[in-house]
């Protein structure tokens, strides 16, 4: 029972998060120090041999050791994968761990606070003057104007007031962490189910299959290019027809930044070149990656969470109004205490409307 608890506490600790982030950063850096072997090269023994022969010119006798250690493909090796997977686990565990405390903090409305709290709260203010009723009205109006939610409990002697704002923004941190986990999972799944055809050669007027089990065919109708006065390309494009079951179903102009999208497959225009038997041919690449949408959605969740956590701190204010109208204020913020201290100073209108 104790070992799992210890393990869980360690996995969800910020200290581990910092260690894993540093390890992850070092692994990212490591991958930039060595040239990387493309997966299609690694899969083919002959090409791999050629690649390593080229690398040998630079790394000499170290080449084989570097290859065995995975340093020519760091991002698919344990150097990178181990911190990444641990980071996903630790982020997910930490986020899960925070769900109940966060929800409790959002719903906690503790109006009555003991005397000692007002002596020791991180931020305190003392305001004097007026009757109890006046003091309550002015304070309440000021808080409501600042979008605080105000709860009041009156006792014969003392009035207790609790106010808070942006409590739901506490969900921001959860959204960010959940978004990161979803994003990384989407990227990892995308890596296994997506495919990419780097070099799809289309001879104008001739339909050809895209491959990868795709049912339809594509046909380039031509290729055009405009140039700027200085000769550099301004625009190039190719009209492409999609044929499904032998029938044309779609015709689009494909440009850089404007791929053709059909049936979950994107077709990207790269360039045109002379054909082997005269004429010319148009080079495209094709890709299928269903993880794009979910990855973007997860990233938007991360950004939304960041805005909430950075710009909407959950701020809580307690007030105790004494029989003589003296107000004791105390505040707590889940971020940037100093800002709340300023806020408490400004809560009471100036000049003092009671005195």
């Amino acid at each position: 029972m104790r070992i799992p608890t210890t393990l869980w506490n360690w996995l969800t600790s910020i200290r581990l998060a910092v260690i894993l982030l540093i390890a992850f950063g070092l692994a990212l850096f490591l991958g930039l120090l060595f040239p990387s072997m493309a997966p299609e090269v690694a899969a083919n023994a002959v090409e791999r041999g050629h690649w390593l022969a080229t690398a040998r010119a630079r790394y000499g006798p170290l080449t084989n050791a570097l290859f065995t250690l995975g340093l020519f493909d760091v991002y698919h090796s344990a150097w990178f994968r181990v911190p990444l997977v641990l980071l996903i686990l630790s982020t997910a565990a930490a986020a899960f761990n925070r769900v109940r405390p966060t929800w409790r903090a959002i719903n906690l409305t503790q109006v009555w606070m003991p005397d000692s709290f007002f002596d020791r709260a991180p931020d305190r203010e003392l305001i004097r003057g007026g009757s109890r009723a006046q003091a309550l009205n002015v304070l309440r109006a000021s808080l409501v104007r600042r979008r605080y939610r105000v709860v009041v409990e009156e006792e014969p002697e003392i009035i207790h007031l609790y106010a808070d704002r942006y409590r739901f923004a506490r969900l921001g941190s959860l959204a960010t962490h959940a978004g990161i986990v979803l994003l990384l999972v989407a990227v990892l799944i995308g890596g296994t189910i997506s495919w990419r055809e780097q070099h799809l050669v289309l001879v104008p007027g001739q339909a050809r299959a895209v491959g990868h089990g795709v049912s339809f065919q594509v046909r380039a109708e031509g290729f055009e290019m405009d140039r700027y006065p200085n000769g550099s390309p301004r625009d190039y494009r190719s009209d492409v027809t999609v044929l499904d079951g032998g029938q044309p179903v779609l015709r689009r102009t494909v440009r850089p930044n404007e791929p053709l999208q059909y049936g979950g497959v994107n077709l990207y225009l790269l360039h045109a070149e002379p054909g082997p038997r005269g004429g010319y041919q148009v080079i495209f690449s094709a890709a299928h990656d269903p993880s794009f949408g979910p990855a973007v959605a997860a990233a938007v969740l991360v950004l939304l969470g960041l805005v909430l956590s950075f710009y909407f701190p959950h701020q809580r204010v307690w007030a105790r109004i004494e029989p003589d109208g003296t107000i004791r204020l105390a505040g707590k913020s889940n971020r940037n205490r100093i800002d709340l201290g300023e806020e408490l100073k400004n809560l009471w209108p100036s000049p003092n409307p009671i005195l």
Partner: protein
Amino acid sequence: MAIAESNLITLTYIFLTAAVASYSLRLEGRVETLGRWATWIARVALAALTAALVIRGVEAGHVPFVGPYEFSLLFMWGILAVYLWMERGFGTQAAGLFILPIAFAIGTYAVAVIPDAAKTSQPLSPALQSPWLQIHVSASAVAYGAFAVAAGLGVMLLASEVLPGLAGRVPSSAQIDRFMWRAVALGFFLLSSVQLTGAIWAQYAWGSYWNWDPKEIWALLTWTLYLVYFHGRALRGWRGHRLAVLAIVGFGLVVFGFYGLGQLVRLVGLESMHVY
């Protein structure tokens, strides 16, 4: 390059130099002289730079967001804009002396180091003709500016700890730490947006939202370092000079990502579509 534009760049440079001088007089406490005008001089520099960028954009027919010269100008713009915007909340002008020299250094690089031939505006290649160019590059300029402000504040925090003479002239370590957090938070949110818009653009331009390009990897590395900053802030003993060092190192990564990564890519023999 148009005469009006180059005159405005020269004007920016002169006013930026004057701003650095007047912020230093300000820190000396000599407010009766040029020091009084520090913020206004910096604002004139920003206005001149904005006008230069607008003229350059109008004459080229596209946003001036392409290549090292234009991005250096934007970088300088980001530092000035973020600093002047945040200065009002600082309640002090002390930070100017630590932040504006960064803009000055980048301005010097843009004006004096980049050869004149590389300063002429180029027509937009088909690959860059995308609405994502505007969002992606403008967010990165402001993000980099915010990280520069954080690094300058980090230097101020470290300086105030080692130079007793600064005590009383600069805010307390706790206050600087809070300002630094604000700058890092702004930069981090924008850097995240830069990566998202870059990924979406890459999906439409290259066919994949993540391509293991050195530029993408470097941006992720920078992003990871700032994650260490945020998590370290919650650990005992990290506030103060350790976070200041992280903010400075983080900005070092930002600068290297733009100015040094190309060298690394060539040295190691990596392939990149996004290193200039």
